[in-house]
């Protein structure tokens, strides 16, 4: 089956101003997202994994224009949505939705959960009045909640249930792409599993395309088809799941994989422990951004910034592999 | 520090500008003949015509506005209908009385109000706090003229300690004069203090309650610091910063009280002047009084903000 490219991200940059001098000009930036490019194909799940502060959430928000990108472009089905405004942007919003991290903060405490699912339907006038109500009930069922819960308020539910409401709300507009921004990170492990299974089921049933943002590689491993590894706003490695786990190229990826708990003691490898902490995005190291913590670091890593190199759909940004491209 | 002063001066200037413009708008845009606002209808026709040209009332609104600003800048506040003398002269005589009244009240209310507010916050919810709250609100809610007159009655008639109004007894000089002024001063200050004390008590209390909930207070206590030091050195100092900021604004509100108090006590300040001017429809005087009071309040605000900047180490760095 031919794969359809529905999202194209080219050289996305999102910088946040840090300091202004007296005249209001910005002197220093936090480069939250620094030159990120990838493609998203219909029906697949793209996992974006990285530590806190790596900029992965900012990528999601930039795609949705909740945060304005500073540079680069985003194409949805061929249309450039990077600078869209007003009514046009509102319409595009129907197609790309987000599920937020905090189930407690992402629902308006003063509206019933049914109402919060119906509201976007009404705003975009997708269905007729009565149909909205029925659609909402159907969505509640689909995410595993009782129809009677329609009239209840967020504070009456647990974290996992609220997250289901968030999913139902995201589905209300029948989107094509769903960005799950650390959607399971704040849930208990057992609940995490339930929600992840729900994601899989929904994907198969509705033909959804996901961007799954997380800091836990084991979660990402389960759901994704392709994975992007992010560090300090830059892509360190992109590959499909099998290639990434069978042959992780970047030292950072190797460290992350080694940290995944393995139940069978015989199959456990050596855990790679990275020294130091992630540097501040406002003052990244010179050369390769990972150079300060890399266990395979070389002299050149501190001086020259490595480019992203492509090995048959497996891209990596590391000096270890630059030599091969002469 | 200089940067703060700069910022404050710009803010003050804009505020003054808006105040002055609002006055202009109110007086010139009202229905009916605008000339009656500025030119005494009792004057002769010839004199009126001359003043008409002087005030530029024959020109367009925009031209009038600029003329008004120009005159203001030169200190020309118009001529009083009633006294037939320049408004600025009249005000120059009366303003110090009002400023003295308000200034002393300000100092007293802050000196008593802030400690009481701190105490109320510390004993939050207990009887002491509720009493202080209740009394404060009561004080705030008494009708100022009534309070003034009652005090006058009590301490002027029944217990004839203080003089019955006015600012001074004519014919005195030197030391006697000062004492006399002082005696005349006390009741008006007392009146204003009772009313405006509440503002400082309640505001300080609210700030302190927030401050006392902060973690650094808990840390100080757990370090075994003496309770009094915890409250005063750590808690009160921070709450005071927001109170001092408010002091500037509360000064503005006090003007209203001063107007009523001066009226009742026949105190020779700008407030009483406003009351008389209203009765006589003396618009230039009304306008001038407001402008002068606004200016005083703005200056007071700038001073308060500077003090704040001095006290607040965080603000100093901005």
């Amino acid at each position: 089956m031919k794969k359809q490219k529905i999202l194209e991200v080219k050289n996305l940059k999102t910088y946040f101003p840090l300091k202004r001098n007296f005249f209001g000009q910005v002197t220093n930036y936090t480069k939250a997202v620094d030159d990120v490019s990838f493609d998203l194909y219909k029906g697949e799940v793209l996992g974006i994994v990285g530590e806190t502060g790596s900029g992965k959430s900012t990528i999601g928000r930039s795609l949705l224009r909740l945060v304005e990108p500073t540079g680069g472009s985003i194409f949805y089905r061929g249309e450039n949505i990077t600078e869209m405004k007003g009514e046009k942007l509102r319409k595009i919003r129907k197609n790309i939705q987000m599920i937020f991290q905090d189930p407690f903060a992402s629902l308006n405490p003063r509206i019933s959960i049914g109402e919060c699912i119906v509201e976007p339907m009404r705003e975009h006038a997708i269905y007729k009045k009565d149909d909205c109500f029925n659609q909402a009930l159907m969505l509640l069922e689909k995410v595993g909640l009782d129809k009677d819960y329609y009239i209840r308020y967020p504070h009456e539910f647990s974290g996992g249930q609220r997250q289901r409401v968030g999913i139902a709300r995201a589905l209300a507009l029948d989107p094509e792409i769903i960005i799950a921004d650390e959607a399971v990170s704040s849930l208990d492990v057992s609940v995490q599993a339930q929600i992840i299974n729900l994601f899989s089921d929904l994907q198969q049933e509705l033909g959804l395309t996901y961007i799954f943002i997380a800091h836990d590689l084991s979660v990402v491993k389960f759901v994704s088809n392709s994975i992007i590894v992010i560090y300090l706003g830059e892509i360190m490695e992109i590959a499909n799941k099998e290639d990434l786990f069978n042959q992780p190229l970047h030292p950072y990826t190797q460290a992350l994989i080694s940290a995944i708990p393995v139940p069978d003691p015989n199959k456990r490898g050596r855990r790679i422990i990275l020294k130091g902490e992630i540097p501040s995005p406002a003052h990244p190291p010179t050369g390769c951004k990972f150079s300060t913590r890399c266990f395979k670091v070389m002299d050149v890593c501190h001086e020259i910034h490595p480019d992203l190199v492509n090995f048959d759909n497996h891209q990596v940004r590391c000096h270890l592999y630059q030599k091969k491209e002469e | 520090m200089f940067k703060v002063l700069q910022k404050q001066l710009i803010k003050g200037f804009i505020t003054f500008f808006i105040a002055v413009s609002i006055t202009f708008l109110i007086l010139r845009l009202m229905p009916g003949d605008p000339t009656t606002m500025l030119i005494d209808p009792r004057m002769t026709e010839a004199a009126r015509q001359r003043l008409l040209v002087d005030f530029g009332l024959d020109k367009s609104l925009i031209a009038q506005y600029f003329l008004y600003l120009k005159q203001l800048f030169c200190g020309n506040l118009g001529v009083s209908f009633v006294f037939r003398t320049p408004v600025s002269e009249i005000l120059r005589e009366r303003l110090p009385w009002t400023l003295a009244l308000m200034g002393i009240t300000q100092i007293i209310t802050m000196s008593i109000g802030i400690p009481l507010g701190v105490m109320a916050a510390y004993k939050r919810g207990k009887l002491v706090d509720q009493i202080i709250n209740a009394l404060s609100i009561l004080g705030m809610s008494i009708f100022i003229p009534w309070l003034g007159i009652m005090l006058l009655f009590l301490f002027g008639y029944i217990l004839p300690i203080f003089p019955i109004g006015g600012g001074y007894t004519p014919g005195l000089s030197g030391w006697e004069y000062f004492l006399d002024v002082g005696m005349h001063f006390i009741l008006p200050v007392l009146t204003l203090t009772i009313i405006y004390l509440a503002n400082y008590i309640l505001f300080t209390r609210a700030s302190m309650v927030d401050v006392l909930n902060e973690d650094y207070i808990r840390t100080a206590r757990s370090k075994g610091m003496e309770e009094k030091r915890v409250i005063w050195n750590h808690g009160a100092r921070n709450a005071m910063i927001s109170t001092v900021t408010m002091a500037g604004m509360l000064f503005g509100r006090m003007v209203g009280g001063a107007v009523l108090t001066e009226t009742v006590y026949a105190y020779p300040g700008v407030g009483r002047m406003i009351y008389d001017a209203v009765g006589q429809q003396d618009f230039p005087l009304l306008q001038g009084s407001f402008i002068v009071l606004a200016l005083s309040v703005i200056v007071m605000n700038i001073v308060a903000d500077l003090i704040c900047a001095y006290l607040n180490p965080r603000m100093k760095m901005e």
């Binding site: - | 009708f143 107007v259 009304l286």
Partner: protein, 288 residues
Amino acid sequence: MNKFRSYQQGKWLRIGKSFFEHRLGVIGLIGVIVVFLVAIFAPYIAESVSGYGEVKDILNSPSLEHIFGTDALGLDLFSQVIWGTRISLQVGFLVVLIAALIGIPIGLFSGYYGGWVSTLGMGLTNVFLTLPLLPLMIIAAAVLGSNINNIALIIGLFSWPQIARITRSAAAEVTGMQYIEAAKSLGIRANRIIFHHVLVNASAPILVNLTIVVATAIISESALSFLGLGDPLTWSWGKILHNAHRSGAFISSWWFSLFPSLAITFFVVSFNFLGMGMREALNPRLRE
């Protein structure tokens, strides 16, 4: 769908309970209820008076016939004070309406959009909060004429900054919440987000301040009336005090000034206490 609306337990019960634990708030509520009852049932409590009374009745001290005594025209003071309640509520209501209509939108837009909108809105607000308002109101009243609705309009026009300021800070806090971000991502129109989502969640402190505005409105109205700028036809409490002052019998006929002043104080204290009670009850941090 409305028939499915369930009774939202928990939150409001807790707030209600918390309110009643605070003595002052309850006292305020009772006071406000009394004010409303007096205003509504005024015709049954006392006959409305106007015009001139009889000469023999001028400045009589309180008696069985005239509970509060009589004024300089010989008219019953009790009746004037009772009927003045209606005026006070009328003024309070009008002032709050105008202050809310102007102040809430300005505060909401400033809080939601931030940036230059906020700078402009709050700058304007701060200018008004700094300036001495009574002299300005005096000038405005002198110019616009003293009709009770004009007075209320003027007071309202100078009361909105207070509301705008508290609305802005509440709105800014709510705007930072993730559910507002979620609403934006769902493509909900900005105006709906502001006036429905933000406003509803920010409403608590706004309501508290609106209550307090009623109290300050009466203080201003009484002051203006006392100074002679009040409506000559409608006799608010401040107007009665103006009459008392003008008659020269302020002190000698103590009843003339005492009862209207008590009425003012009662009104103002009640609304202030109510506001304080509401503030303590609605502040989640203090309700530990």
